[in-house]
Symmetry: C2
Subunit: 316 residues, 2 copies
Amino acid sequence: MRKRLVVALSGGVGGAKLALGLSRVLPADELLVVANTGDDFEHLGLSISPDIDTLTYTLAGIDNPATGWGRRDETWSFMDSIGALGGEDWFRLGDRDLALHVERTRRLRLGQTLSEVTSDICRRLGIGARVLPMSDDRVRTRVRSERGWIDFQDYFVRQQCRPVVHELAFDDVALARPQAEIAAALRSGDVRAVIVCPSNPFISVEPILAIPGMRDAIKASGAPVVAVSPIIGGQAVKGPTAKMMRELGLEASAAGVAARYGDLLDGYIVDHADADGVGHVGPQVTIAKILMKTLDDRETLARVTLDAADALASQR
Amino acid sequence: MRKRLVVALSGGVGGAKLALGLSRVLPADELLVVANTGDDFEHLGLSISPDIDTLTYTLAGIDNPATGWGRRDETWSFMDSIGALGGEDWFRLGDRDLALHVERTRRLRLGQTLSEVTSDICRRLGIGARVLPMSDDRVRTRVRSERGWIDFQDYFVRQQCRPVVHELAFDDVALARPQAEIAAALRSGDVRAVIVCPSNPFISVEPILAIPGMRDAIKASGAPVVAVSPIIGGQAVKGPTAKMMRELGLEASAAGVAARYGDLLDGYIVDHADADGVGHVGPQVTIAKILMKTLDDRETLARVTLDAADALASQR
Protein backbone atom coordinates (compact mmCIF):
# COMPACT_ATOMS: atom_id res chain seq x y z
CA MET A 1 0.00 0.00 0.00
CA ARG A 2 1.17 3.48 -0.81
CA LYS A 3 2.59 5.41 2.14
CA ARG A 4 0.73 8.58 2.64
CA LEU A 5 2.27 10.99 5.08
CA VAL A 6 4.59 13.82 4.05
CA VAL A 7 6.50 15.40 6.94
CA ALA A 8 8.02 18.79 6.13
CA LEU A 9 10.56 20.47 8.40
CA SER A 10 10.28 24.22 8.09
CA GLY A 11 11.33 27.58 9.35
CA GLY A 12 9.71 30.81 8.19
CA VAL A 13 9.58 32.46 4.78
CA GLY A 14 11.24 30.06 2.31
CA GLY A 15 10.02 27.00 4.14
CA ALA A 16 6.50 28.34 4.30
CA LYS A 17 6.46 28.86 0.53
CA LEU A 18 7.25 25.20 -0.09
CA ALA A 19 4.84 24.15 2.67
CA LEU A 20 2.12 26.08 0.84
CA GLY A 21 3.04 24.31 -2.39
CA LEU A 22 2.87 20.95 -0.62
CA SER A 23 -0.46 21.84 0.94
CA ARG A 24 -1.87 22.52 -2.52
CA VAL A 25 -0.70 19.31 -4.18
CA LEU A 26 -1.43 16.96 -1.25
CA PRO A 27 -4.69 16.03 0.47
CA ALA A 28 -4.93 17.88 3.77
CA ASP A 29 -4.50 14.76 5.89
CA GLU A 30 -1.27 13.78 4.14
CA LEU A 31 0.82 16.79 5.18
CA LEU A 32 2.38 17.45 8.57
CA VAL A 33 4.52 20.56 8.84
CA VAL A 34 7.05 20.57 11.67
CA ALA A 35 7.74 24.18 12.66
CA ASN A 36 10.95 25.42 14.22
CA THR A 37 10.34 27.01 17.60
CA GLY A 38 13.94 27.94 18.41
CA ASP A 39 13.08 31.48 17.26
CA ASP A 40 10.22 31.72 19.75
CA PHE A 41 10.54 34.39 22.38
CA GLU A 42 8.71 36.38 24.98
CA HIS A 43 8.29 40.01 24.06
CA LEU A 44 6.12 42.66 25.71
CA GLY A 45 4.89 39.83 27.92
CA LEU A 46 3.61 37.93 24.89
CA SER A 47 4.61 34.48 23.63
CA ILE A 48 5.68 34.89 20.04
CA SER A 49 6.36 32.00 17.64
CA PRO A 50 7.57 33.60 14.42
CA ASP A 51 7.98 30.46 12.31
CA ILE A 52 4.67 28.91 13.37
CA ASP A 53 2.99 32.20 12.58
CA THR A 54 4.54 32.62 9.16
CA LEU A 55 3.51 29.05 8.33
CA THR A 56 0.01 29.60 9.71
CA TYR A 57 -0.54 32.86 7.87
CA THR A 58 0.92 31.47 4.65
CA LEU A 59 -1.19 28.31 4.69
CA ALA A 60 -4.28 30.37 5.56
CA GLY A 61 -3.59 32.76 2.68
CA ILE A 62 -3.38 35.80 4.97
CA ASP A 63 0.38 36.24 4.92
CA ASN A 64 2.06 39.46 3.92
CA PRO A 65 4.03 38.73 0.74
CA ALA A 66 5.80 42.10 0.90
CA THR A 67 7.49 41.45 4.24
CA GLY A 68 7.61 37.65 4.45
CA TRP A 69 6.24 37.86 8.01
CA GLY A 70 3.06 39.12 9.60
CA ARG A 71 -0.35 39.51 8.03
CA ARG A 72 -1.57 41.25 4.92
CA ASP A 73 -3.89 44.27 5.21
CA GLU A 74 -2.16 45.07 8.45
CA THR A 75 -2.39 48.26 10.53
CA TRP A 76 0.21 49.58 12.96
CA SER A 77 -1.61 51.62 15.60
CA PHE A 78 -0.36 49.42 18.44
CA MET A 79 3.24 49.93 17.35
CA ASP A 80 2.66 53.65 16.93
CA SER A 81 1.47 53.78 20.55
CA ILE A 82 3.65 51.35 22.50
CA GLY A 83 6.85 53.38 22.30
CA ALA A 84 5.25 56.44 23.92
CA LEU A 85 4.28 54.24 26.88
CA GLY A 86 7.79 52.98 27.40
CA GLY A 87 7.32 49.66 25.61
CA GLU A 88 9.92 48.24 23.25
CA ASP A 89 9.16 48.79 19.60
CA TRP A 90 12.06 47.17 17.76
CA PHE A 91 10.06 44.01 17.00
CA ARG A 92 7.21 45.01 14.70
CA LEU A 93 3.85 43.59 15.74
CA GLY A 94 0.92 44.55 13.55
CA ASP A 95 -2.52 45.06 15.07
CA ARG A 96 -4.00 41.96 13.44
CA ASP A 97 -0.91 39.88 14.11
CA LEU A 98 -1.13 40.92 17.75
CA ALA A 99 -4.46 39.14 18.10
CA LEU A 100 -2.66 35.83 17.56
CA HIS A 101 0.05 36.61 20.12
CA VAL A 102 -2.43 37.78 22.74
CA GLU A 103 -4.69 34.78 22.24
CA ARG A 104 -1.81 32.28 22.23
CA THR A 105 -0.29 33.84 25.35
CA ARG A 106 -3.64 33.70 27.13
CA ARG A 107 -4.10 30.02 26.31
CA LEU A 108 -0.56 29.02 27.20
CA ARG A 109 -1.03 30.70 30.57
CA LEU A 110 -4.17 28.61 31.04
CA GLY A 111 -2.00 25.52 30.62
CA GLN A 112 -2.66 24.58 27.01
CA THR A 113 0.33 23.27 25.08
CA LEU A 114 1.77 25.15 22.13
CA SER A 115 0.62 22.22 19.97
CA GLU A 116 -2.95 22.53 21.18
CA VAL A 117 -3.02 26.27 20.62
CA THR A 118 -1.42 25.97 17.19
CA SER A 119 -3.76 23.19 16.08
CA ASP A 120 -6.84 25.06 17.21
CA ILE A 121 -5.80 28.28 15.54
CA CYS A 122 -4.99 26.45 12.29
CA ARG A 123 -8.43 24.87 12.40
CA ARG A 124 -10.10 28.22 13.01
CA LEU A 125 -8.21 29.74 10.09
CA GLY A 126 -9.34 26.93 7.82
CA ILE A 127 -5.95 25.24 7.40
CA GLY A 128 -6.37 21.58 6.49
CA ALA A 129 -2.77 20.42 6.90
CA ARG A 130 -1.33 19.91 10.35
CA VAL A 131 1.19 22.49 11.56
CA LEU A 132 2.90 21.50 14.78
CA PRO A 133 5.75 22.91 16.81
CA MET A 134 8.85 20.71 16.80
CA SER A 135 8.40 20.34 20.55
CA ASP A 136 6.09 21.52 23.30
CA ASP A 137 9.18 22.04 25.40
CA ARG A 138 10.93 25.35 25.32
CA VAL A 139 14.02 25.62 23.12
CA ARG A 140 15.71 28.96 22.51
CA THR A 141 18.27 29.66 19.82
CA ARG A 142 21.12 31.91 20.88
CA VAL A 143 23.95 33.36 18.86
CA ARG A 144 27.54 33.88 19.93
CA SER A 145 28.94 36.91 18.17
CA GLU A 146 32.01 39.03 18.78
CA ARG A 147 30.07 40.64 21.63
CA GLY A 148 29.17 37.39 23.39
CA TRP A 149 25.96 35.41 23.49
CA ILE A 150 22.76 37.18 22.45
CA ASP A 151 19.17 36.04 22.08
CA PHE A 152 18.16 35.09 18.60
CA GLN A 153 15.62 37.84 17.95
CA ASP A 154 18.06 40.39 19.29
CA TYR A 155 20.52 39.19 16.65
CA PHE A 156 17.97 38.63 13.91
CA VAL A 157 15.63 41.59 14.24
CA ARG A 158 17.10 44.20 16.55
CA GLN A 159 20.63 43.91 15.16
CA GLN A 160 19.43 42.81 11.71
CA CYS A 161 21.96 39.95 11.52
CA ARG A 162 24.86 42.41 11.53
CA PRO A 163 26.98 40.72 14.22
CA VAL A 164 29.41 38.09 12.98
CA VAL A 165 28.20 34.67 14.12
CA HIS A 166 30.80 32.44 15.74
CA GLU A 167 28.52 29.79 17.17
CA LEU A 168 24.87 28.89 17.68
CA ALA A 169 23.29 27.18 20.65
CA PHE A 170 19.80 25.85 21.26
CA ASP A 171 19.20 26.45 24.93
CA ASP A 172 17.42 23.65 26.77
CA VAL A 173 17.28 21.47 23.67
CA ALA A 174 18.76 18.58 25.64
CA LEU A 175 15.60 18.56 27.76
CA ALA A 176 13.18 18.86 24.84
CA ARG A 177 11.16 15.98 23.45
CA PRO A 178 9.84 15.74 19.90
CA GLN A 179 6.20 16.84 19.82
CA ALA A 180 4.07 13.76 20.41
CA GLU A 181 2.09 13.70 17.14
CA ILE A 182 5.28 14.24 15.17
CA ALA A 183 6.99 11.39 16.97
CA ALA A 184 3.95 9.16 16.42
CA ALA A 185 3.82 10.06 12.72
CA LEU A 186 7.49 9.21 12.24
CA ARG A 187 6.92 5.87 13.98
CA SER A 188 3.78 5.07 12.01
CA GLY A 189 5.44 3.31 9.09
CA ASP A 190 3.26 5.48 6.85
CA VAL A 191 5.73 8.24 6.02
CA ARG A 192 6.07 8.80 2.30
CA ALA A 193 8.76 11.48 2.56
CA VAL A 194 10.51 13.77 4.98
CA ILE A 195 11.11 17.09 3.28
CA VAL A 196 13.62 19.60 4.57
CA CYS A 197 12.24 22.91 3.33
CA PRO A 198 14.51 25.63 1.91
CA SER A 199 14.94 27.32 5.27
CA ASN A 200 18.12 28.46 6.97
CA PRO A 201 19.91 25.25 8.05
CA PHE A 202 21.44 26.74 11.20
CA ILE A 203 18.57 28.64 12.69
CA SER A 204 15.49 26.95 11.22
CA VAL A 205 16.24 23.28 10.55
CA GLU A 206 19.02 22.39 12.99
CA PRO A 207 16.99 23.33 16.08
CA ILE A 208 14.48 20.71 14.92
CA LEU A 209 17.18 18.14 14.26
CA ALA A 210 18.87 18.93 17.59
CA ILE A 211 15.94 17.66 19.64
CA PRO A 212 17.08 14.39 21.18
CA GLY A 213 15.61 11.51 19.20
CA MET A 214 14.36 13.63 16.27
CA ARG A 215 17.15 12.81 13.82
CA ASP A 216 17.01 9.13 14.71
CA ALA A 217 13.22 9.12 14.40
CA ILE A 218 13.48 10.63 10.93
CA LYS A 219 16.03 8.00 9.91
CA ALA A 220 13.98 5.23 11.50
CA SER A 221 10.83 6.31 9.67
CA GLY A 222 12.27 4.58 6.63
CA ALA A 223 11.13 7.43 4.42
CA PRO A 224 13.43 9.17 1.97
CA VAL A 225 14.66 12.51 3.26
CA VAL A 226 14.81 15.17 0.58
CA ALA A 227 16.01 18.74 1.13
CA VAL A 228 15.49 21.75 -1.07
CA SER A 229 18.50 24.05 -1.16
CA PRO A 230 18.02 27.46 0.47
CA ILE A 231 20.92 28.75 -1.62
CA ILE A 232 20.58 29.81 -5.26
CA GLY A 233 23.71 30.77 -7.14
CA GLY A 234 25.66 31.04 -3.92
CA GLN A 235 23.14 33.47 -2.41
CA ALA A 236 20.35 33.07 0.09
CA VAL A 237 17.00 34.04 -1.44
CA LYS A 238 16.23 35.95 1.75
CA GLY A 239 17.88 36.17 5.12
CA PRO A 240 21.35 35.57 6.45
CA THR A 241 22.02 31.96 5.40
CA ALA A 242 24.97 32.69 3.10
CA LYS A 243 26.44 35.28 5.48
CA MET A 244 26.20 32.86 8.39
CA MET A 245 27.81 30.06 6.41
CA ARG A 246 30.81 32.22 5.60
CA GLU A 247 31.08 33.38 9.20
CA LEU A 248 30.93 29.80 10.43
CA GLY A 249 33.74 28.88 8.05
CA LEU A 250 31.57 26.89 5.68
CA GLU A 251 31.30 27.11 1.92
CA ALA A 252 28.34 29.40 1.14
CA SER A 253 26.87 27.18 -1.54
CA ALA A 254 24.17 24.63 -2.19
CA ALA A 255 26.85 21.95 -1.78
CA GLY A 256 27.87 23.45 1.55
CA VAL A 257 24.31 23.12 2.84
CA ALA A 258 24.17 19.47 1.77
CA ALA A 259 27.48 18.84 3.50
CA ARG A 260 26.10 20.41 6.65
CA TYR A 261 23.08 18.09 6.68
CA GLY A 262 25.45 15.16 6.15
CA ASP A 263 24.01 11.68 5.99
CA LEU A 264 20.52 12.88 6.87
CA LEU A 265 19.72 13.49 3.20
CA ASP A 266 18.80 10.95 0.58
CA GLY A 267 17.83 13.50 -2.02
CA TYR A 268 18.66 17.12 -2.67
CA ILE A 269 16.93 19.60 -4.94
CA VAL A 270 19.20 22.38 -6.23
CA ASP A 271 18.78 25.17 -8.72
CA HIS A 272 20.12 25.13 -12.25
CA ALA A 273 22.49 27.89 -11.14
CA ASP A 274 24.14 25.52 -8.69
CA ALA A 275 24.16 22.39 -10.86
CA ASP A 276 27.92 22.46 -11.43
CA GLY A 277 28.95 22.52 -7.78
CA VAL A 278 26.95 19.59 -6.43
CA GLY A 279 28.37 16.61 -8.27
CA HIS A 280 30.25 15.45 -5.22
CA VAL A 281 27.54 15.82 -2.56
CA GLY A 282 26.23 12.64 -0.97
CA PRO A 283 22.48 12.65 -1.68
CA GLN A 284 20.96 12.11 -5.07
CA VAL A 285 20.67 15.50 -6.73
CA THR A 286 17.72 16.81 -8.71
CA ILE A 287 18.20 20.00 -10.68
CA ALA A 288 15.12 22.22 -10.83
CA LYS A 289 13.96 25.79 -10.81
CA ILE A 290 13.75 26.38 -7.07
CA LEU A 291 13.08 30.12 -6.86
CA MET A 292 9.42 30.35 -5.82
CA LYS A 293 7.96 33.61 -7.08
CA THR A 294 4.46 32.49 -8.00
CA LEU A 295 1.96 30.07 -6.58
CA ASP A 296 2.66 27.87 -9.61
CA ASP A 297 6.36 27.84 -8.69
CA ARG A 298 5.45 26.63 -5.19
CA GLU A 299 3.26 23.83 -6.47
CA THR A 300 5.76 22.79 -9.13
CA LEU A 301 8.63 22.62 -6.65
CA ALA A 302 6.43 20.65 -4.26
CA ARG A 303 5.76 18.11 -7.02
CA VAL A 304 9.43 17.93 -8.02
CA THR A 305 10.38 17.28 -4.41
CA LEU A 306 7.73 14.62 -3.90
CA ASP A 307 8.69 12.95 -7.20
CA ALA A 308 12.32 12.86 -6.11
CA ALA A 309 11.31 11.27 -2.81
CA ASP A 310 9.05 8.74 -4.52
CA ALA A 311 11.83 7.84 -6.95
CA LEU A 312 14.21 7.29 -4.03
CA ALA A 313 11.63 5.15 -2.25
CA SER A 314 11.10 3.01 -5.35
CA GLN A 315 14.86 2.33 -5.53
CA ARG A 316 14.91 0.84 -2.04
CA MET B 1 -0.49 79.01 55.41
CA ARG B 2 -2.86 78.00 52.63
CA LYS B 3 -3.39 74.27 52.28
CA ARG B 4 -2.50 73.10 48.83
CA LEU B 5 -3.53 69.60 47.97
CA VAL B 6 -6.78 68.70 46.23
CA VAL B 7 -7.68 65.01 46.37
CA ALA B 8 -10.33 63.97 43.86
CA LEU B 9 -12.07 60.58 44.03
CA SER B 10 -13.06 59.48 40.56
CA GLY B 11 -14.43 56.75 38.39
CA GLY B 12 -14.47 56.99 34.59
CA VAL B 13 -16.28 59.35 32.25
CA GLY B 14 -18.02 61.97 34.41
CA GLY B 15 -15.33 61.91 37.04
CA ALA B 16 -12.63 62.27 34.43
CA LYS B 17 -14.32 65.37 33.02
CA LEU B 18 -14.15 67.11 36.38
CA ALA B 19 -10.63 65.82 36.97
CA LEU B 20 -9.64 67.44 33.69
CA GLY B 21 -11.24 70.70 34.81
CA LEU B 22 -9.37 70.52 38.12
CA SER B 23 -6.11 69.77 36.33
CA ARG B 24 -6.55 72.93 34.27
CA VAL B 25 -7.30 75.29 37.15
CA LEU B 26 -4.77 73.87 39.62
CA PRO B 27 -0.98 73.70 39.50
CA ALA B 28 0.07 70.17 38.60
CA ASP B 29 1.51 69.39 42.03
CA GLU B 30 -1.71 70.36 43.80
CA LEU B 31 -3.94 67.66 42.31
CA LEU B 32 -4.07 64.00 43.25
CA VAL B 33 -6.72 61.91 41.50
CA VAL B 34 -7.71 58.70 43.27
CA ALA B 35 -8.95 56.23 40.67
CA ASN B 36 -11.42 53.45 41.33
CA THR B 37 -9.95 50.04 40.52
CA GLY B 38 -12.99 47.95 41.43
CA ASP B 39 -13.78 47.81 37.69
CA ASP B 40 -10.36 46.36 36.89
CA PHE B 41 -10.30 42.92 35.36
CA GLU B 42 -8.24 40.41 33.51
CA HIS B 43 -9.32 39.92 29.94
CA LEU B 44 -7.56 38.06 27.13
CA GLY B 45 -4.74 37.61 29.63
CA LEU B 46 -4.34 41.38 29.98
CA SER B 47 -4.71 43.53 33.10
CA ILE B 48 -7.26 46.20 32.29
CA SER B 49 -8.00 49.23 34.51
CA PRO B 50 -10.87 51.06 32.81
CA ASP B 51 -11.15 54.03 35.19
CA ILE B 52 -7.42 54.66 35.42
CA ASP B 53 -7.29 54.54 31.64
CA THR B 54 -10.17 56.92 31.08
CA LEU B 55 -8.58 59.34 33.54
CA THR B 56 -5.17 58.95 31.93
CA TYR B 57 -6.42 59.42 28.40
CA THR B 58 -8.62 62.36 29.42
CA LEU B 59 -5.85 64.18 31.30
CA ALA B 60 -3.43 63.52 28.43
CA GLY B 61 -5.93 64.89 25.90
CA ILE B 62 -6.05 61.65 23.93
CA ASP B 63 -9.44 60.42 25.11
CA ASN B 64 -12.24 59.55 22.75
CA PRO B 65 -15.06 62.03 23.42
CA ALA B 66 -17.50 60.06 21.28
CA THR B 67 -17.35 56.89 23.39
CA GLY B 68 -16.25 58.17 26.80
CA TRP B 69 -13.66 55.39 26.93
CA GLY B 70 -10.62 54.43 24.88
CA ARG B 71 -8.47 56.63 22.71
CA ARG B 72 -9.25 59.02 19.92
CA ASP B 73 -8.05 58.27 16.37
CA GLU B 74 -8.41 54.61 17.21
CA THR B 75 -8.28 51.62 14.86
CA TRP B 76 -9.87 48.21 15.41
CA SER B 77 -7.81 45.65 13.53
CA PHE B 78 -7.03 43.66 16.67
CA MET B 79 -10.73 43.36 17.48
CA ASP B 80 -11.50 42.43 13.88
CA SER B 81 -8.99 39.57 14.18
CA ILE B 82 -9.33 38.19 17.69
CA GLY B 83 -12.75 36.61 17.22
CA ALA B 84 -11.60 34.50 14.29
CA LEU B 85 -8.87 33.05 16.52
CA GLY B 86 -11.29 32.05 19.24
CA GLY B 87 -10.67 35.05 21.49
CA GLU B 88 -13.47 36.91 23.22
CA ASP B 89 -14.52 40.11 21.52
CA TRP B 90 -17.30 41.50 23.72
CA PHE B 91 -14.98 43.98 25.43
CA ARG B 92 -13.79 46.43 22.78
CA LEU B 93 -10.05 47.06 22.85
CA GLY B 94 -8.74 49.45 20.24
CA ASP B 95 -5.32 48.94 18.73
CA ARG B 96 -3.82 52.03 20.39
CA ASP B 97 -5.57 51.34 23.68
CA LEU B 98 -4.16 47.83 23.58
CA ALA B 99 -0.64 49.18 23.82
CA LEU B 100 -1.43 50.42 27.32
CA HIS B 101 -2.91 47.10 28.43
CA VAL B 102 -0.02 45.07 27.02
CA GLU B 103 2.60 47.34 28.56
CA ARG B 104 0.86 47.49 31.94
CA THR B 105 0.41 43.71 32.01
CA ARG B 106 4.07 43.20 31.17
CA ARG B 107 5.21 45.48 33.97
CA LEU B 108 2.82 44.06 36.57
CA ARG B 109 4.16 40.60 35.74
CA LEU B 110 7.67 41.91 36.36
CA GLY B 111 6.53 42.86 39.86
CA GLN B 112 5.86 46.58 39.50
CA THR B 113 2.86 47.89 41.41
CA LEU B 114 -0.16 49.32 39.65
CA SER B 115 0.79 52.69 41.18
CA GLU B 116 4.27 52.55 39.72
CA VAL B 117 3.00 51.58 36.29
CA THR B 118 0.27 54.24 36.36
CA SER B 119 2.63 56.99 37.51
CA ASP B 120 5.21 56.17 34.88
CA ILE B 121 2.65 56.06 32.08
CA CYS B 122 1.14 59.37 33.21
CA ARG B 123 4.60 60.91 33.18
CA ARG B 124 5.30 59.55 29.70
CA LEU B 125 1.99 60.94 28.45
CA GLY B 126 2.85 64.35 29.86
CA ILE B 127 0.27 64.41 32.66
CA GLY B 128 1.33 66.74 35.43
CA ALA B 129 -1.25 65.80 38.06
CA ARG B 130 -0.88 62.58 39.99
CA VAL B 131 -3.29 59.77 39.10
CA LEU B 132 -3.12 56.84 41.50
CA PRO B 133 -5.14 53.68 41.98
CA MET B 134 -7.14 53.66 45.18
CA SER B 135 -5.08 50.65 46.27
CA ASP B 136 -2.29 48.46 44.96
CA ASP B 137 -4.22 45.54 46.34
CA ARG B 138 -6.73 43.79 44.16
CA VAL B 139 -10.39 44.72 44.68
CA ARG B 140 -13.10 43.44 42.34
CA THR B 141 -16.61 44.77 42.13
CA ARG B 142 -19.29 42.15 41.64
CA VAL B 143 -22.98 42.51 41.05
CA ARG B 144 -25.79 40.32 42.38
CA SER B 145 -28.61 40.29 39.90
CA GLU B 146 -31.61 38.04 39.48
CA ARG B 147 -29.24 35.47 37.98
CA GLY B 148 -26.79 35.47 40.88
CA TRP B 149 -23.37 37.08 41.28
CA ILE B 150 -21.59 38.22 38.13
CA ASP B 151 -18.34 40.03 37.52
CA PHE B 152 -18.64 43.74 37.06
CA GLN B 153 -17.54 43.97 33.41
CA ASP B 154 -19.82 41.09 32.56
CA TYR B 155 -22.69 43.15 33.97
CA PHE B 156 -21.48 46.50 32.70
CA VAL B 157 -20.20 45.73 29.21
CA ARG B 158 -21.28 42.27 28.13
CA GLN B 159 -24.81 42.56 29.52
CA GLN B 160 -24.88 46.36 29.12
CA CYS B 161 -26.30 46.90 32.63
CA ARG B 162 -29.49 45.09 31.69
CA PRO B 163 -29.71 42.78 34.75
CA VAL B 164 -31.54 44.19 37.75
CA VAL B 165 -29.02 44.90 40.51
CA HIS B 166 -29.91 43.61 43.96
CA GLU B 167 -26.58 44.06 45.67
CA LEU B 168 -22.97 45.03 45.05
CA ALA B 169 -19.85 43.57 46.61
CA PHE B 170 -16.20 44.57 46.45
CA ASP B 171 -14.33 41.29 46.61
CA ASP B 172 -11.19 41.31 48.75
CA VAL B 173 -11.72 44.92 49.79
CA ALA B 174 -11.33 43.91 53.44
CA LEU B 175 -7.72 42.97 52.65
CA ALA B 176 -6.96 46.09 50.65
CA ARG B 177 -4.95 49.02 51.95
CA PRO B 178 -5.22 52.59 50.71
CA GLN B 179 -2.47 53.29 48.20
CA ALA B 180 0.53 54.59 50.15
CA GLU B 181 0.88 58.06 48.54
CA ILE B 182 -2.85 58.65 48.93
CA ALA B 183 -2.72 57.69 52.59
CA ALA B 184 0.31 59.93 53.11
CA ALA B 185 -1.39 62.84 51.35
CA LEU B 186 -4.49 62.52 53.51
CA ARG B 187 -2.28 62.49 56.63
CA SER B 188 -0.18 65.43 55.51
CA GLY B 189 -2.31 68.20 57.01
CA ASP B 190 -2.00 69.93 53.64
CA VAL B 191 -5.29 68.85 52.05
CA ARG B 192 -7.31 71.78 50.77
CA ALA B 193 -10.30 69.71 49.64
CA VAL B 194 -11.46 66.19 48.98
CA ILE B 195 -13.67 66.22 45.92
CA VAL B 196 -16.04 63.40 45.12
CA CYS B 197 -16.33 63.56 41.34
CA PRO B 198 -19.69 63.09 39.57
CA SER B 199 -19.15 59.36 39.11
CA ASN B 200 -21.49 56.51 39.89
CA PRO B 201 -21.64 56.30 43.71
CA PHE B 202 -22.09 52.53 43.86
CA ILE B 203 -19.54 51.31 41.35
CA SER B 204 -17.03 54.16 41.15
CA VAL B 205 -16.86 55.95 44.50
CA GLU B 206 -17.98 53.37 47.06
CA PRO B 207 -15.22 50.89 46.17
CA ILE B 208 -12.76 53.66 47.09
CA LEU B 209 -14.60 54.45 50.32
CA ALA B 210 -14.89 50.75 51.18
CA ILE B 211 -11.14 50.31 51.55
CA PRO B 212 -10.53 49.90 55.27
CA GLY B 213 -9.25 53.19 56.66
CA MET B 214 -10.00 55.28 53.58
CA ARG B 215 -13.17 56.93 54.81
CA ASP B 216 -11.60 57.64 58.21
CA ALA B 217 -8.48 59.03 56.56
CA ILE B 218 -10.60 61.38 54.46
CA LYS B 219 -12.44 62.55 57.58
CA ALA B 220 -9.20 62.85 59.54
CA SER B 221 -7.58 64.95 56.82
CA GLY B 222 -9.58 67.86 58.18
CA ALA B 223 -10.36 69.00 54.64
CA PRO B 224 -13.87 69.79 53.48
CA VAL B 225 -15.38 66.99 51.41
CA VAL B 226 -17.41 68.24 48.48
CA ALA B 227 -19.27 66.03 46.02
CA VAL B 228 -20.62 66.92 42.62
CA SER B 229 -23.93 65.24 41.86
CA PRO B 230 -23.82 62.62 39.10
CA ILE B 231 -27.58 63.10 38.67
CA ILE B 232 -29.12 65.97 36.68
CA GLY B 233 -32.88 66.33 36.68
CA GLY B 234 -33.30 62.84 38.08
CA GLN B 235 -31.23 61.29 35.30
CA ALA B 236 -27.66 60.08 35.10
CA VAL B 237 -25.71 61.99 32.45
CA LYS B 238 -24.29 58.70 31.27
CA GLY B 239 -24.34 55.18 32.62
CA PRO B 240 -26.61 53.23 34.92
CA THR B 241 -26.56 55.38 38.09
CA ALA B 242 -30.27 56.24 38.12
CA LYS B 243 -31.30 52.73 37.06
CA MET B 244 -29.17 51.20 39.81
CA MET B 245 -30.56 53.57 42.44
CA ARG B 246 -34.10 52.55 41.61
CA GLU B 247 -33.16 48.84 41.61
CA LEU B 248 -31.47 49.23 44.99
CA GLY B 249 -34.62 50.87 46.39
CA LEU B 250 -33.14 54.35 46.60
CA GLU B 251 -34.55 57.62 45.36
CA ALA B 252 -33.01 58.27 41.93
CA SER B 253 -32.21 61.90 42.56
CA ALA B 254 -29.41 64.26 43.49
CA ALA B 255 -30.74 64.18 47.05
CA GLY B 256 -30.68 60.38 47.01
CA VAL B 257 -26.97 60.42 46.13
CA ALA B 258 -26.22 62.82 48.98
CA ALA B 259 -28.15 60.61 51.36
CA ARG B 260 -26.13 57.64 50.20
CA TYR B 261 -22.83 59.41 50.95
CA GLY B 262 -24.22 60.32 54.37
CA ASP B 263 -22.02 62.25 56.77
CA LEU B 264 -19.00 62.01 54.48
CA LEU B 265 -20.01 65.19 52.68
CA ASP B 266 -19.57 68.76 53.85
CA GLY B 267 -20.59 70.30 50.58
CA TYR B 268 -22.63 69.22 47.59
CA ILE B 269 -22.83 70.74 44.14
CA VAL B 270 -26.14 70.12 42.34
CA ASP B 271 -27.63 71.31 39.12
CA HIS B 272 -30.25 74.04 38.83
CA ALA B 273 -32.65 71.30 37.69
CA ASP B 274 -32.35 69.63 41.08
CA ALA B 275 -32.33 72.73 43.27
CA ASP B 276 -35.84 72.11 44.64
CA GLY B 277 -35.20 68.61 45.95
CA VAL B 278 -32.07 69.16 47.99
CA GLY B 279 -33.18 71.52 50.76
CA HIS B 280 -33.17 68.77 53.31
CA VAL B 281 -29.86 67.08 52.51
CA GLY B 282 -27.12 67.28 55.14
CA PRO B 283 -24.20 69.00 53.36
CA GLN B 284 -24.14 72.62 52.35
CA VAL B 285 -25.58 72.81 48.86
CA THR B 286 -24.27 74.89 45.97
CA ILE B 287 -26.45 75.22 42.89
CA ALA B 288 -24.52 75.39 39.63
CA LYS B 289 -24.57 74.31 36.01
CA ILE B 290 -23.01 70.88 36.34
CA LEU B 291 -23.44 69.39 32.87
CA MET B 292 -19.94 69.47 31.37
CA LYS B 293 -20.17 69.75 27.60
CA THR B 294 -17.23 72.00 26.87
CA LEU B 295 -13.77 72.42 28.29
CA ASP B 296 -14.98 75.73 29.74
CA ASP B 297 -17.77 73.85 31.57
CA ARG B 298 -15.17 71.54 33.10
CA GLU B 299 -12.99 74.39 34.30
CA THR B 300 -15.94 76.40 35.60
CA LEU B 301 -17.32 73.46 37.57
CA ALA B 302 -13.86 72.78 38.96
CA ARG B 303 -13.68 76.39 40.20
CA VAL B 304 -17.19 76.25 41.66
CA THR B 305 -16.30 73.08 43.53
CA LEU B 306 -13.02 74.46 44.86
CA ASP B 307 -14.72 77.70 45.88
CA ALA B 308 -17.37 75.73 47.77
CA ALA B 309 -14.66 73.77 49.56
CA ASP B 310 -12.68 76.91 50.40
CA ALA B 311 -15.82 78.59 51.76
CA LEU B 312 -16.49 75.57 53.96
CA ALA B 313 -12.90 75.62 55.21
CA SER B 314 -13.12 79.31 56.07
CA GLN B 315 -16.24 78.65 58.17
CA ARG B 316 -14.38 76.19 60.40
